[in-house]
């Protein structure tokens, strides 16, 4: 498989290409108090400017992994380093995290504008600057006309856009996305994927993305970490060495199909030993 030739696990080595690692997981494990083993020793690094996707079947612990990166869940073994430091460093300028959840997770009682400005409000940001940031974030996702709407007045796709605007409003240095478009129809999802790819390129974002869609992973990522079923392991990392910006034509190209085939074979392989569980 030519495409996957440099796919050997890169381990905990600092991200490739001499990029500064934004987050590193070193033998990170997670076992829940109930005894459920969610994650086997994970070694993974996300370098600045990368778009890394965790791809795996449901229940492989990829969301747990993202929560560990977000600092919301503590690993039961191993280490996590953010900007080569502990979690205390997170949140300072240049080291901001933001997360987009599976659902839009907007406050139903607040208008879109107030939802988007929430991270700034919580940080006690100065009003005029916050106002500018909110406006530009809404413009980025094309919701500037809906600032005064309540979330329930928006479609599912628009709610997700608002959620992304809220994540972008702090200009995060690492954006975590947990199957953000999983609940949307395929047409909306494709559109939002294309917009996200464009945002990532234009704003030089660093993204850690979780999905169970092979197509989404190939279209968006610079690198895909293929995970096995529970307990989750990174079985292989596959670089998607394709030029950016990625056009819609990439979706129907032969190379796209080849990547998809390689990834789906890896997924099948990874699930085989524990196939009895499904």
């Amino acid at each position: 498989m030519e495409i996957a030739k440099d796919a050997a696990a890169t381990g905990a080595a600092p991200a490739r290409d001499g990029r500064v690692p934004v987050v590193e997981l070193i033998a990170t494990e997670k076992t829940y108090p109930s005894g459920t083993r969610a994650l086997d020793a994970i070694d993974l690094a996300v370098g600045e400017g990368e778009f890394v996707t965790l791809l795996g079947p449901s229940g492989c612990g990829k969301s747990t992994l993202l929560k560990i990166i977000a600092g919301l869940t503590a690993p039961s073994a191993g280490r996590v380093r953010w900007w080569q430091q502990g979690f205390e460093a997170v949140g300072e300028p240049g080291r901001r995290l933001a997360m987009v959840f599976q659902e839009a997770t907007l406050m139903p009682w607040a208008r879109v504008h107030r939802n988007v400005s929430l991270p700034l409000d919580l940080a006690g940001a100065e009003r005029a600057a916050a106002e500018r940031a909110v406006r530009s974030a809404l413009e980025l996702v094309g919701l500037e006309a809906f600032a005064r709407h309540f979330p329930r007045e928006l479609s599912g796709g628009m709610q997700m856009r608002a959620s992304i605007a809220r994540a972008l409003v702090t200009a995060p240095n690492l954006l975590l996305m947990d199957e953000p478009f999983g609940a949307l129809d395929e047409i909306t999802r494709n559109n939002l994927d294309a917009e996200l790819a464009e945002l990532w390129r234009r704003r030089s974002l660093t993204v850690a993305f979780v999905t169970h869609s092979i197509y989404e992973a190939v279209f968006l990522s610079t690198r895909v970490a293929v995970m096995s079923a529970r307990p989750g392991r990174v079985v292989r990392e596959v670089a998607i060495d394709e030029p950016v910006p990625r056009r819609e034509s990439f979706r129907v190209s032969q190379r796209f199909a080849a990547y998809c085939k390689a990834l789906s074979e890896l997924l099948a392989e990874a699930s085989a030993p524990v196939g009895a569980q499904n």
């Binding site: 929560k67 977000a70 600092g71 919301l72 949140g91 995290l97 933001a98 997360m99 959840f101 599976q102 659902e103 997770t105 406050m107 139903p108 009682w109 607040a110 929430l118 991270p119 409000d121 919580l122 940080a123 309540f150 979330p151 329930r152």
Partner: protein
């Protein structure tokens, strides 16, 4: 669409009114047809006459009962909310005290009212206390539930952005609790009235502080059944008005965003 909306409005307002009118007419006809004496079942006309003739007496009693009800409702709301906040602070506090809140709820007020009336010298304060005990539980349980019913994703988001305890309370937990709180308010308003009437029954206070329950008792003793009905009617109307006021308040607060209120729009 206009026809549909008109049809729905008819179903919501005109239909129950029609049922009421039919019932009253039926009541009147039956009482007249079987020549039922006034001291057993008065006709609607007798009740209306009593209401007008005894208005001075009844309206004064209505004011007394409403005062007790509203004071008790206010006490229950303030105290219940404070207790709910306390419960929501820690599972330990809730686990330690919640059973006693339940105890308060399941003990029939008629059983403890005599004690309270003995212990509390000021009779009005005693009545308010009784009604508060009856009305407080829905506020406590609903608000506690609401303060805990926070969307886990939003809770994560607040945690990620290192929101302080106060920020989380003001911006997340209180708004999340609001629909539950207003639900509790509706139930509690009715219970406050019931509590006030029951406590008045037990106290049996006459004189200038006579509430509607006292008028019902007296009217019963004197076989003045039309007045009894009139007093009953006033209690019912007061209860309905309280409920409507709470529904209006709830819609005012939640109407813009909450599902329970949005249903009215379409």
């Amino acid at each position: 669409m206009g026809r549909l909306a008109a049809g729905q409005r008819f179903a919501r307002i005109a239909a129950p009114v029609l049922v009421g009118v039919v019932m009253v007419v039926l009541w009147h006809t039956l009482v007249k047809a079987f020549d039922v004496p006034k001291y057993l079942v008065p006709s609607p006309l007798d009740v209306a006459t009593a209401l007008v003739q005894d208005w001075a007496l009844l309206s004064r009693s209505l004011l007394v009962t409403m005062k007790v009800t509203l004071l008790a409702f206010a006490c229950a709301t303030v105290l219940g909310t404070l207790i709910a906040f306390l419960f929501a602070q820690s599972r330990w506090i809730e686990a330690s005290f919640f059973p006693y809140a339940v105890l308060l709820q399941v003990t029939p007020i008629v059983a403890i009212a005599p004690l309270i009336i003995i212990w509390v010298e000021d009779i009005e304060a005693a009545l308010v206390l009784c009604a508060t005990i009856v009305a407080i539980f829905p506020i406590i349980s609903n608000t506690t539930l609401g303060l805990r019913s926070v969307n886990p994703g939003l809770a994560d988001l607040f945690r990620m952005h290192r929101a302080s305890r106060l920020q989380t309370l003001m911006r997340l937990r209180i708004p999340s609790a609001a629909p539950y709180f207003f639900g509790g308010l509706r139930i509690s308003s009715g219970l406050a009235l019931i509590g006030a009437v029951v406590a008045e029954f037990v106290a049996g206070t006459g004189g200038h502080a006579a509430g509607l329950a006292y008028q019902i008792l007296q009217a019963g003793f004197q076989l003045n059944i039309p007045r009894l009905f009139a007093a009953l009617l006033l209690i019912t109307v007061a209860g309905v008005l309280l409920f409507l006021a709470m529904a209006w308040l709830s819609r005012l607060a939640l109407g813009r965003w909450h599902e329970s209120e949005l249903a009215h729009e379409t």
